[in-house]
């Protein structure tokens, strides 16, 4: 055991002091933060104040618009869109009456306004409205700013004074939706808003993402470490002091710890913005424990497979190519993330949960979404344990035989023979 810990410590320190690791740990969150910040910076920098950011000019040649309704209309449209499509409330949009098109176009060019709508004088008979936007590519013309707000303002202006006040309110806000959800057992209960549903999922789903990442990071390090040891020809020296099993165990512990440290750092980096957004990250203790079980089993499975594969190639690159077969198989559940998320108890989800290569990712995902039936947990844990047993035994056998083969890659028949041999 002492030697296993010596190996684990050495592998951990060797990995976490590498430039590549430090870049991945610190650089990646920074990179994503910068990517996320760019649109915000672009939007806020511009050349105008927040007031000008959402200003839209309206030239009413038909004399139908009641600008006194604008504020209320904008508020109602904003409230509807908040609840349906966007998590971020729209703020600062203004519909400003303009008289002169030339002046409006000049302001448009100077970026003082985002768009200019002209309600033509024959609007009442033709419905004709022209819109002027800056030519900034396809998307600027597809969805001009303030379009929904203007339509709502026109509707409200047209009926104001012609219908009773309550009806005007319904025109302004036709639906005050209450949504209910029906469980699989037929229980009906009020549904929370999408935003609160989403915040409830952030914790479990974040845990799913992080633990999945940890499995792949750590087993990736193991693959690389094994391939490097073989390329550097140190395995024979190591075998003069330790058994293949001790080497495998030491590497699995040391590199697993390096991978966990990496995602712990990511988790902390993610926690800070969620605290800023005042999102309560809710994760049940049962969810955490079960997820950790699948993380541990998943890591052991892929680490053993990667170790056995890493030793086969003559170079790191060659080993990476060989290991793609495991990486792709384990990623399959992510390709059907949508269907599994929509029905976490479907035959597809359950099938993937029972197969060792796809079980860790599928189960981590299902645990993050719903309460998984006990039978599914038992079957998937059982299949993973069998998978790990076979992978560890296979890796140790391949290890002993392949670690001393320098310069050539063993064929499939050779690998199968090693696996059959005692």
């Amino acid at each position: 055991m002492r030697k296993i810990l010596v190996i684990a410590r050495h592998e951990f320190i060797a990995t976490v002091t590498r430039k590549g690791y430090i870049f991945a740990v610190v650089g990646m969150p920074l990179f994503f933060l910068v990517i996320a910040a760019i649109p915000m910076i672009v939007e806020t920098s511009g050349d105008g104040s927040s007031k000008e950011r959402g200003a839209v000019a309206v030239i009413d040649r038909a004399g139908v618009v009641d600008f006194g309704l604008a504020a209320e209309v904008i508020e109602q449209v904003g409230a509807t869109s908040d609840a349906s499509s966007s998590l971020e409330p729209k703020k600062g949009l203004q519909l400003i009456p303009y008289e002169d098109l030339d002046r409006a176009l000049a302001d448009l060019q100077r970026r003082r306004i985002q768009a200019c709508y002209v309600i033509e004088s024959d609007y009442m008979t033709t419905g004709k409205v022209s819109v002027y936007v800056r030519d900034e590519g396809l998307f600027s013309r597809l969805n001009p700013k303030g379009e929904r707000e203007l339509y709502a303002l026109l509707r409200a202006s047209l009926v104001k004074g012609r219908v009773p006040e309550p009806m005007l309110q319904r025109v302004l806000r036709p639906v005050n939706l209450t949504s209910m959800k029906v469980s699989e057992r037929g229980h009906v209960q009020p549904s929370e808003s999408e935003w609160s549903e989403v915040t409830k999922l952030i914790g479990p789903f974040g845990m799913f993402i992080l633990l999945t990442m940890a499995i792949f990071f750590s087993s990736g390090y193991l693959l690389q470490g094994m391939a490097e040891d073989k390329q550097n020809r140190v395995i024979e020296i190591l075998f003069s002091s330790v058994t293949p099993e001790q080497l495998l165990a030491g590497k699995i512990i040391g590199l697993g710890a390096a991978g966990l440290l990496q995602v712990t750092f990511y988790a902390l980096v993610l926690l800070i913005p969620s605290m800023v957004l005042v999102v309560t990250v809710q994760v049940g203790i049962g969810q955490i424990l079960l997820s950790l079980v699948y993380f541990g089993l998943g890591y052991l499975l892929f680490a053993s497979l990667m170790a056995g594969t890493g030793i086969l190639g003559s170079t790191v690159q060659e080993s990476n190519q060989l290991a793609a077969v495991w990486t792709i198989s384990s990623m399959v559940p992510l390709f059907v993330l949508g269907p599994i998320s929509e029905s976490p108890h479907s035959a597809l989800a359950r099938g993937f949960s029972y197969f060792p290569l796809t079980a860790p990712v599928t189960m981590l995902l299902r645990i993050s979404l719903t309460t998984v039936p006990v039978i599914d947990i038992l079957v998937s844990v059982g299949s993973l344990i069998v998978g790990i047993f076979l992978a560890v035994r296979g890796a140790a056998k391949v290890f002993r035989a392949a670690s001393l083969m320098y310069g050539k890659r063993p064929g499939l028949s050779e690998i199968l023979r090693w696996l059959r041999e005692a």
């Binding site: 010596v6 190996i7 020809r233 140190v234 024979e236 020296i237 002091s241 058994t243 001393l404």
Partner: protein, 298 residues
């Protein structure tokens, strides 16, 4: 006391018999030469001794017991395929190898520093292994073998890639280790070094033993009844001689079958020759090696 013992050891890879019924004993404190042409089975034998590969048959014992993890800690192994962590610092690599041999952290550091100083590597302790010259990497490799203070040293081609200065230094280290009671199993192609270092040798060819025993005995066995003589005499007059070959200021004199060197010496004295030098000529190990390999047996 026997340090390494092999009895009836056999190993085959598919249809190729790499080591066939090999038995030998390496005594404690001796420098034992393991010889053989490329592909003869030397490295397979060494890997079986190290339990890196398992024999199909036979028994291998170190200090009278099977190779356990504890026993492994007493063996320093320099494999033919050299390897180090090229991206790591010299000192930390050496400490790691010492710790795998059972040393505590403090012992590992002390031992690594001592050996580095001994081999002139102290200034390189904080450099990455990959930044060192090939010769210095070879020295680091040797230190990695010695750093655990092993009782047995198994060195597979330790002189490969070394210049004459470093070759002499490694030879000196090997001698010092033997003088300190350590056992050295030396596998090499450099016959001249084997002659100066080893007391006993084992030669393997096509997986089988072809020579085994004290070097002097083997050389005597393979000597071709010749003597090296420096004397002013007309050799053609001697009826005991088959032929003569000049050699470095002396004459290599091949005697007829059944003639003893003392008979020839008596003839020289009787002929009134002034004998400046007279010694039994031995066959260089290299010639024995080539002869055995060409004959394909012992």
């Amino acid at each position: 006391m026997t340090a390494i013992s092999l009895r009836g050891v056999r190993k085959s890879f598919d249809s190729l018999v790499a080591v066939d019924d090999v038995s030998l004993d390496v005594e404690r404190g001796e420098i034992f030469g393991l010889l053989g042409p490329n592909g003869a089975g030397k490295t397979t034998m060494i890997r079986m001794i190290m339990d890196i590969i398992r024999p199909d048959a036979g028994r291998i014992e170190i200090f009278g017991q099977h190779l356990t993890e504890r026993v492994k800690e007493h063996i320093g192994y320099l494999p033919e395929e050299r390897g180090l962590y090229t991206r790591q610092k010299v000192l930390s690599v050496l400490e790691y190898f010492a710790r795998l041999k059972g040393a505590t952290r403090a012992q590992a550091r002390q031992s690594a520093l001592t050996w580095m100083e001994r081999l002139g590597l102290t200034e390189m302790k904080d450099k990455k292994v990959g930044e060192l010259s090939k010769g210095n990497q070879q020295k680091v490799q040797l230190v990695a073998t010695l750093v655990g203070d092993p009782e047995i040293l198994i060195l597979d081609e330790p002189f490969t890639g070394l210049d004459p200065v470093n070759t002499r230094m490694v030879s000196t280290v090997i001698r010092e280790q033997a003088a300190a009671g350590k056992t050295v199993l030396l596998s090499t192609h450099q016959m001249a070094l084997v002659e100066t270092l080893c007391e006993r040798v084992f030669m393997i060819h096509r997986g089988r033993r072809v020579l085994y025993g004290h070097l002097d005995e083997i050389k005597r066995r393979y000597s071709d009844n010749a003597v090296l003589v420096r004397a002013a005499v007309d050799y053609r007059q001697c009826p005991l001689i088959a032929r003569t070959v000049p050699e470095n200021g002396t004459m290599r004199v091949y005697l007829n079958a059944g003639v003893q060197p003392r008979d020839f010496l008596a003839w020289l004295l009787q002929a009134g020759a002034e004998v400046e030098a007279f010694e039994r000529a031995t066959t260089p190990l290299e010639d024995i090696f080539i002869k055995v390999v060409q004959e394909g047996g012992g």
